[in-house]
Amino acid sequence: MATTRSELPDAQGRFGDFGGRFVPETLMPALEELAAAYVAARDDRAFQAELASLLKTFAGRPTPLYHAMRLTEHAGGAQIYLKREDMAHTGAHKINNALGQALLAKRMGKRRIVAETGAGMHGVAAATVCAMLGMECVVYMGTEDMRRQEPNVYRMRILGAEVRPVTAGARTLKEAVSETIRDWVTNVADTHYIIGSVVGPHPYPMMVRDFQTVIGREAREQMLEATGALPGYAVACVGGGSNSIGLFVPFFDDQDVRLIGVEAGGEGIETGRHAASIGGGRVGVLHGSKSYVIQSDDGQILDTHSISAGLDYPGVGPEHAWLKERGRAEYVSVNDPEALAAFKLLSELEGIIPALESAHAIAYVVDTLAPGLSAEQTVLVCLSGRGDKDMGTVMEEDAKGMEADEAAEAR
């Protein structure tokens, strides 16, 4: 049994009882090959140097740390610092992982990339690195998400990717992942699947984590530089959980830093219309790994709901399940209206339009966490992406709100 976090996952890809490889036999050899290739690349200085160079010159890293003074003043408590992943190329942290995996695929001699996308940010990141590296790219996206995130569909097409609509089930991220896995099962000889989050079978949760910890490593140094101390809290939104794992893991051994993941409460966990896998799910197996899953009493995976397409997923990475079980990280949830309010608040107070995903983390900090703390305390929040893609959704919500107001006035 591994005793320190750095030994995880074990050779079977397990984080304690979570993780593993629950996939059809057809994919097992590909996962073994991928794990071996990844470990070799991870330990190869030339690979790491190439990745570091592209993260700097192509993706724009390091991303800044920003002291949000007006937001701090508004919340009336702890000092709020934002890790500006929205300023990375393509507008979200997703590029960190897409770059790493695409370089790995190239090294493995795979010329075709498949990816799933929910909000479209991972799909855009995958399409972007494929254009840069001259690789073929196919992105699967639920038709409901294509409607919600239309600008990103065009971005992917302009970048030369083929966007394939998925019409099964609720037509969101879960179905897109399933369809991408089916493509990979069929074309595994020449195709690499760039999964966008710390989910899926081993080695994905480990590999995606490693590519995303650049967020926390940078932020830890930047906090020390800006404040002379580590933050009291590190907060990030959790869908599949890649930006949060990337932020949390470098602080794992700093026991005084409290780690808080914010899940999507949708219309409220009690309504059943939510996407909070830890807060409202139970342990199961989805898309190749064991973790918390939103499921029926019969073990059928349920449709989820969140205003944010990127969090609209019924599972969460196995390492989060392990962090939760060990009590090292806490998980809370924020509902749609609070996330929407935080989206507007950050835009108005700081001139930063956050992704609706990231707005969940902002909402928790501004509404709940910071006001209860003193001005000497610090909260680090991962602003995982920018909100330009969400204009359609926010306009729709505002229109609904105005109709409701007019109806109320008419009565």
Binding site: G20, R21, V185, Q300
Partner: protein, 266 residues
């Protein structure tokens, strides 16, 4: 019980026939009454065993036909308990055919592995294929089923290395299921070119009967498979036959299709 499977396959071998293992999703197309009528018809048509599909919301290894069948059954409320009840009712009705479940792991995990093995055995099931449970993860399931003399059928794929074929056939029971294609389920016109070589690699490592599935839809496929394997599994093509039949003729059409695949003279 594994014994029922062993006997059925031995009978096929003795008769120098290629067995047919039809697949039907439980509760498809309209209700469990369809399944209760279709399975006896399949038995009468000469199938060697039947796979009963346990519906699941996210069937990763299935193509559009079985995805749709599974989705409809889930929507109709068919769950693991329903499927176990169907097995018990088929046995009560006198079905002697080996009955297998084919499904995914999460509904089993949710039911409880031991309780599932116990209830399946009590109902009269003979074994199961759990599509997303490779040998590395199958320990608890294999133990629970073994205690009840139920077979956990090993799945092997064209991508499986010789080492993985060793792992999959070691301790296997009933028969070994070879996935004919690198891909998902669904009727295809032609069998994969590398199939005989792949099955040959498996044959060299086990004396158990070998069934070949995924993509099988015609008698000529069965004849080709019969040259190097013991049985052919047929799913999507049969689902299509059942789906396009008038309600009163579903069982008869399913039986006729299986009989034709088995090479029965009309």
């Amino acid at each position: 019980m594994t014994k029922r499977l062993d006997t059925a396959f031995q009978r096929m071998r003795d008769a120098k026939q290629t067995g047919i293992v039809p697949y039907v999703t439980v509760g498809f197309p309209a209700s469990v009454e369809d399944t209760l009528a279709i399975v006896p018809a399949i038995e009468a048509a000469g199938a060697v065993a039947v796979e009963l599909g346990v519906p699941y919301s996210d069937p990763l290894a299935d193509g559009p036909t079985i995805q749709a069948a599974s989705y409809r059954a889930v929507q109709a409320g068919v769950n693991a308990r329903t499927c176990i009840d169907v097995v018990a009712r088929l046995r009560e009705a006198g079905v002697e055919l080996p009955l297998l479940f084919m499904g995914y792991y999460n509904p089993i995990l949710s039911y409880g592995i031991d309780a599932y093995a116990r209830d399946c055995a009590d109902a009269g099931l003979d074994g199961m294929i759990v599509v997303d449970l490779p040998p590395e993860e199958s320990g608890p399931m294999r133990d629970a089923l073994g205690r009840r003399e139920l077979a956990l059928i090993s799945l092997l794929a064209p991508t499986s290395s010789d080492e993985r074929i060793e792992m999959g056939t070691r301790g296997a029971a009933g028969f070994v299921y070879c996935v004919s294609v690198t891909g998902v389920t669904g009727a295809r016109r032609e069998l994969a070119k590398g199939l005989p070589a792949f099955v040959g690699r498996v044959r060299a490592r086990t004396d158990l009967p070998i069934a070949v599935g995924f993509g099988v839809s015609e008698r000529r496929h069965v004849e080709a498979i019969g040259k190097y394997a013991d049985a052919a599994a047929v799913g999507s093509a049969l689902i299509d036959v059942i789906d396009s039949a008038p309600p009163s003729e579903r069982a008869a059409r399913a039986g006729a299709f299986v009989a034709a695949l088995a090479g029965a003279r009309r």
